[in-house]
Symmetry: D2
Subunit: 355 residues, 4 copies
């Protein structure tokens, strides 16, 4: 059966693979200082409608978070984020390995809210040099539990950040899915306009590997980060020798197709459609979601026995969470990628119906 384990189960989507094959024999300078990376950065700046944005390609998402958070903070500063965010949940202390302390809020469902940002900021600042100084907000879009931030939510976070002089960093490991989510009202241009930094994840959007870290040079913080990033990338061991591989793939992903669409987004749109189809199917069948979302990750509650069988069949992963109904149900995560097709969803729904 088609696997719904995650969105990095396959290799590269056709455009990216073709570009890699086509350029394979060419000689180019190493470490990302090559024409492919330059061209890809230009295409990204164009898609973002920000001609002076700084673009750095980084091979993985945890690496991108560690670099960006380090770049925007001093040694004794940290990011405010929701307790269930990726850096607290699944990075084995990668941010702390950079000597940074995370300021985790008590937000429910891993969705960062202005109220908790304000409380955390107030309590930290009150302690002066006895507390880690807040320097930035971190949230991922889509979030760890699949939430797609609305424009209003995003703006509210940017507003509070502006008021408190905090940078805004959006971890976009699944930004393609967020931007392509049916009904979503947040655009790439708007994210670029308001965030200080964000990533356009490639690994989960049909590339072999790669995250594009985009930084806005308009603020003093942003300019400092831009100066720091190349050094931090190298120091962190994230400077890809054959850096042009990311340039080649991003170049393909951000070159408009004949119909004007960006492959980066159209692959995500297909994945989202399948995920929404699955979510509707599960809800119709009486299963309860963790949050309602149109992104490519869907979390649903199952009885333990069913969960085990579903996991075995389609790779859906168990996610640690407490059943709010107190019934001991298990939370399963289903993820779709650009390879998923409606018939895969139907097959899975058939399997679940037959349990």
């Amino acid at each position: 059966m088609h696997q719904f384990r995650n969105d990095y189960s396959e290799g590269a989507a056709p455009e990216m693979l073709d570009a890699l094959i086509r350029t394979n024999g060419e000689q180019a300078p190493g470490y990302g200082v090559d024409p492919y990376c330059e061209h890809a950065a230009d295409l990204i700046r164009e898609a973002c409608a920000q001609p002076d944005a700084f673009v750095q390609f980084i091979p993985g998402g945890t690496a991108a978070n560690a670099v960006c958070i380090s770049a925007f903070t001093e040694d004794f500063e940290g990011p405010i984020l929701a307790a269930d965010a990726h850096p607290t949940a699944h990075e084995t202390g990668a941010i702390e390995a950079c000597g940074r302390r995370i300021l985790a809020t008590r937000d429910a469902l891993g969705i960062l809210t202005p109220a908790e940002v304000e409380r955390m900021h107030r309590d930290s600042i009150a302690g002066g040099c006895h507390c880690t100084r807040p320097a930035m907000l971190y949230f991922s879009n889509t979030s760890e539990f699949g939430h797609v931030y609305t424009r209003a939510e995003f703006d509210a976070l940017c507003d509070v950040a502006e008021r408190l002089d905090l940078a805004v960093y959006v971890d976009g490991a699944r930004m393609a899915s967020a931007l392509a989510a049916p009904g979503g009202d947040l655009t790439l241009e708007h994210v670029t306009e308001r965030a200080d930094a964000f990533t356009l994840g490639g690994t989960k959007a049909g590339m072999l590997f790669g995250e594009a870290l985009v930084v806005n040079p308009r603020s003093k913080r942003g300019r400092r980060a831009i100066e720091r990033i190349p050094y931090l990338v190298k120091r962190g061991g994230h400077m890809t020798a054959k850096g042009r591989l990311m340039g080649v793939q991003y170049g393909a992903a951000f070159t408009r197709a004949a119909d004007g669409s960006l492959p980066y987004l159209s692959h995500a749109a297909r994945a989202n459609e399948c995920a929404c189809l699955l979510a509707r199917g599960l809800e119709d069948a009486g299963f309860e979601p963790y949050v309602h979302t149109n992104g490519n990750q869907q979390f649903f509650w199952f009885e333990p026995d069913d969960a085990a069988r579903i996991t075995e069949a389609c790779g859906a992963e168990v996610t640690p969470a407490l059943d709010p109904a107190g019934r001991g149900r298990v939370l399963l995560r289903f993820v779709t990628s650009w390879t998923c097709r409606p018939e895969h969803v139907e097959e899975l729904m058939g399997f679940i119906a037959a349990l």
Copy 2:
């Protein structure tokens, strides 16, 4: 007016000061490898009834926490502790500066509970190498909000730690107060018997400075920590050149007086008595405590105006906390030290009554 700001407002208690003066001119080897430190360590081992305990003197409490937590963990491991503990609240990321990630539970009031330890452990272990591996429990006694752990609470934490193969480290910056708390049933011998490591804080117990870190060599973890600690102390910049100063003071604090009492505990007992007197007075006057405690830190809720005046008068500090009654009250911390006398408390109560 006498200040209730904290328990490190004054210099040294008489026994400690006298000992420092008496030995001032003697020449001794540096860095804590001297007869005074050796003798003091012997006295501490005797008081703990553990002849083979390892004792390391460290100048401050944050340093002791950073050293001990580093000593008991691997780079990718961390301590489980309550979200409001000292390392999360008031150490500016000192643990993270050692590259360690803290695993903070959702326990209320900063009091660590076995249930939350188990949940945190289960979720972390489930993630394998994608999550920080839990290696130890950390809690302070008295706690950040003044709680004195009972023997039953302490044993329950030791039990869960044993079951999950976690080390137990008790931050004893205020251990003297905890052990001398009226009605307390936890003894130094019992702490030594069950914990893998703990500190006997000196700074808040009448010394100029110093924490004695005591480590139990019975476990493999403990033996590894013992080998690591001297290096970590030096690497952290915590190796006091005139290390014998701590030996001299601890020697005085743990030399029994004519009546058989330990100065280390009798000073704390006096401080606790005054704190309890204050707590009773405030409760009688209708003020509400944050937690009920017999230690030397008392936290009470006040209307903002009153709080400002009390702070100005006696140095009581505002502590960030949300009024559970939703009335916007402010939480004040009152701390007594070995210099506090009942008449100081009466003076303060008179002031508060006249507000």
Copy 3:
């Protein structure tokens, strides 16, 4: 003109590229826990003649060094290495970012010698906890300046390490070149037999990216490192989501061709031949090498004007070094890869002859 800038200018060698294309559409679990990685590890173990070796794929060389050095050391320990080694020269403090102090010897030409290892060890140990404790040797083969260690040199280092209880780690970013160097007498089996850990570099041997870190489980140190490595890889941000890409490529590189040869070594042999051809040509033309080597990196001294023109033409990089002749000559590095052919060397020699 063909570029001699480095050995990571191109994409993947044919076997690796074909394997990537062939497996592109398959779904596999992420993070290197997949059948491709498992199979590749088996092939590597076979080539090393060590059935129980631990194999971890890591995307880059600096990352592999940081992980392996961290894995084999405690926080307060460090590797002994020659002052001009890669971690001191070109990693922007990646090892120090892990909190480790490097113990750099005064060896000339970046070639580690037993005498300097012994001196550094003796002086460090004499300082007890006031000095970083030596825990391992690090050297790269080929070295930063292209030296190919002989079996005798390698054994002498292993002997001193054994006597001093130090682990031996060989950075093999260019191990393929070292093992395939004409006249070289060091074999993969012998390296495996005596070193505690080494890498088999892929990036500079015809893969898109990847280093295979091989660890010997026979020693206590090795077993501790093996337990630590997966966590350190994740914590360092080096856990490749589509980890199977490295498995696929290493699988191809270590699958014997029809003639029984390993693509991993035969590509390197071709690169070495071209480099030796170039070296002979340059020496015949009267240019002086930095060291004599049969590896794929050649360093020669040139007058500044010539150096500038050569760099412009073929990408040879200037390497900081003091002209021993005191004539202000510039040191150029020429590197060949699996794409280099004799006619490329001839073209370059023609260019130089015409200067």
Copy 4:
């Protein structure tokens, strides 16, 4: 026999001890925010003739180095220093524990020279983001081997630092000795005028503990460091709860005596006189010094047997160094403190004469 082991063998000099006793019972705010620290800082600013200097008291020398070097650098920057300086020789990786890489020159005798500074800077900058970026010079005065920098040497280092845009930090753990060295021409005012930061060591100048870190706010770097230092002090675990102890002692050390002298310097002058007396005696007796110096540390070569007896008698420590005469002699360090008197030196010389 009087011990010549080091200058931190005793407690506090009379002025400091008296001040501690006199103020022992007073209540003052913690963490160095108290009137004593404020007053002492004023006196230091006056002695330095720099009214706006920033002064931070830090309990120990390794801590002061770690804080100051961190404060003046970015994560990926480091200090240039001589290979035998204290941070490389005797701090167990304390600077690397802050994630900073040290750029060690090849200077002989641990004396930093402009030529090596320039070479190290040039090579590092040439590597761009692939190398640690040099940000500051570090040297101690007196140096690790007792050298007292002349005004000309100091100015030459400040000149090269200015030209290369590097900060200058002088580790003054023995600054009192350096400033009071007979024949020395470097003044406190001049150090203050040209260095970006320096310490006025207290521990080795008759205090129980404490280093005063003085930072010049005139440069952008200095202002950034000043903002960072309080946080780094706390994060490093170096925030002394009873911070006023350092204020009290520095207040006494920098309060002019009836004859107009500063106790800080007059104690050092006495120590220097005894050390010079010893050096003259040893040279007259035919022993060879490592370097000629008028500071309070003297290093001389001895035959191994004599060295062992001298060490046993007076505590002189063996220092790792290679006998330039190739005769296998041992280098001994003799250190005098404010308690040393000429008759102590005569006794030691008598002992040595009788060997």
